[in-house]
């Protein structure tokens, strides 16, 4: 293991971090917006959109991200209608194609996370809100969504890490992210082990930095989950079933 080479490589790889982080963060945020829309459609069973979303999620979770990426980057160029449309300025660029593919992909996984979170909001708290005269958007905005968000945070934090790893595919459409630069160095120097160690360290650092951020966010959003007072909570022994 040549440490001189290792540190040189490390420095070169740092240049790829902005692309990696940008792609991961942007796609996650845009994907989350989509995911929220999808989750609401699924939870409220808005037909026929409901079935479309189910199909969308199934396809995007059942096929490799690489296929999705190549269809967008290489495949769309096959159609003259697309090449002559205004969208072509974006769709011919590898960056936007990668962003689009990553966004659509994470939207599918995110929608399942958010759907689960929305369904797990305690029904009693929703009932109490209705009993106060809340409904529709107000109920969603003030009660259902905040509670669901807290529920979804751990799983979405994990999704963020998966996104960081997924951005490595952008290297296969010529983008200079960390993996892209790493591949180039390996091809030039035939020293895969050092490059792997350097690149791997960077990805691990990014992932762990993220985990810490997510944990901080979790703690901030859940001030009620630091140690509870003794004697708190509903007594299970006296619970009765209501007709």
């Amino acid at each position: 293991m040549d440490f001189e080479f290792l540190s040189q490589t490390f420095l070169k790889l740092l240049h790829g971090i902005p692309v990696t982080l940008e792609l991961a963060t942007l796609s996650l945020m845009l994907g989350a917006c989509l995911a929220l829309a999808f989750a609401v459609i699924r939870v409220r069973r808005i037909r026929p959109l409901n079935w479309l979303v189910i199909g969308y999620v199934y396809v995007f979770r059942g096929t490799p991200l690489l296929v999705q990426l190549f269809i967008i980057y290489y495949g769309l160029a096959q159609f003259p209608e697309i090449r002559s449309s205004f969208a072509w300025t974006y769709l011919r660029e590898p960056y936007w194609c990668a962003l689009l593919a990553l966004t659509l992909n994470t939207a599918a996984y995110g929608s399942e996370i958010l759907r689960g979170a929305l369904l797990s909001v305690p029904r009693g708290q929703i009932m109490a809100a209705r009993a106060c005269g809340m409904s529709g958007l107000l109920l969603f905005r003030r009660i259902s969504f905040p509670i669901a968000l807290r529920q979804a945070l751990p799983a979405y934090g994990n999704e963020f890490i998966l996104m960081i790893k997924a951005t490595s595919l952008a290297s296969l459409v010529t983008l200079a992210d960390v993996t892209g630069i790493a591949a180039r160095i390996i091809a030039e120097t035939y020293r895969p082990v050092e490059v792997f160690v350097a690149a791997g360290t960077i990805y691990l650092a990014l992932s762990y930095g993220l985990i810490l951020l997510v944990r901080l966010a979790e703690i901030r959003l859940n001030p009620d989950q630091r140690e509870p007072a003794p004697g708190a909570g509903v007594s299970a022994a006296r619970k009765e079933v209501n007709p």
Binding site: A128, D224, A232, S235, A237
Partner: protein
Amino acid sequence: MNQMTPPAQPPAVSVRGLRKRYGALEVLKGIDFDAHRGEVVSILGSSGSGKSTLLRCINMLEIPEDGTVTVDGTEIELVAQRGGGRRPADTRAMDRMRARIGMVFQDFNLWSHKTVLGNVIEAPTHVQKRPRAECIAEARTLLDKVGIADKADQYPSRLSGGQQQRAAIARALAMKPAVMLFDEPTSALDPELVGEVLRVIRALAEEGRTMLIVTHEVGFARDISDTVIFMNEGVIEESGPPEEVFAAGNNTRLARFIEG
């Protein structure tokens, strides 16, 4: 059925011909009753008698298949919907009605992501759209009234069951409701915490609020109620002032329930 002097105003709550079914099971088989302004009505009965369902039909948390509910002079019109059953013709009107009815649940159902104070001001601020400062001031008064002023900035998970239920009562009172509904308010509490909640409910009764209370606390019901209703298998079997209803030999089923 009610022995009070005939009131000059319409009843606070008026229920006619209420029927509610869950699938093949008919839980309410035609309920008629009135609750007048300032009247405290206790509803007793064994599990499955339909008492909680009746309460939940009053603020439309359950939609009855048949019958009408009139609260504070306003009736919520129900229309048929596809797929069976009925739905409110005007959901905004239903929301407005619900804002005039305060409900206290067996499981408290405080919102876990808000402090106690946050819970109490939520509906006045966002549903009734009253100024926030006013709501906060009133909330603190209410929390003081139910005895948990010092817990205002705590989260519900740090309160005991009794404290949570008292917070829930304050939350319901914050909307200045015309009617208060209590759905087995002490059934989920440890025995030693029941008393503090009953004290608060008694104080509200003595203020002259219109209250409907579904409860298992028979002695408490006898003490504070103007009217006691005994339900069994979806119908009202007994109804009247406590002295009458609890008089010995009146109805063996009720007597068995009281002893049981």
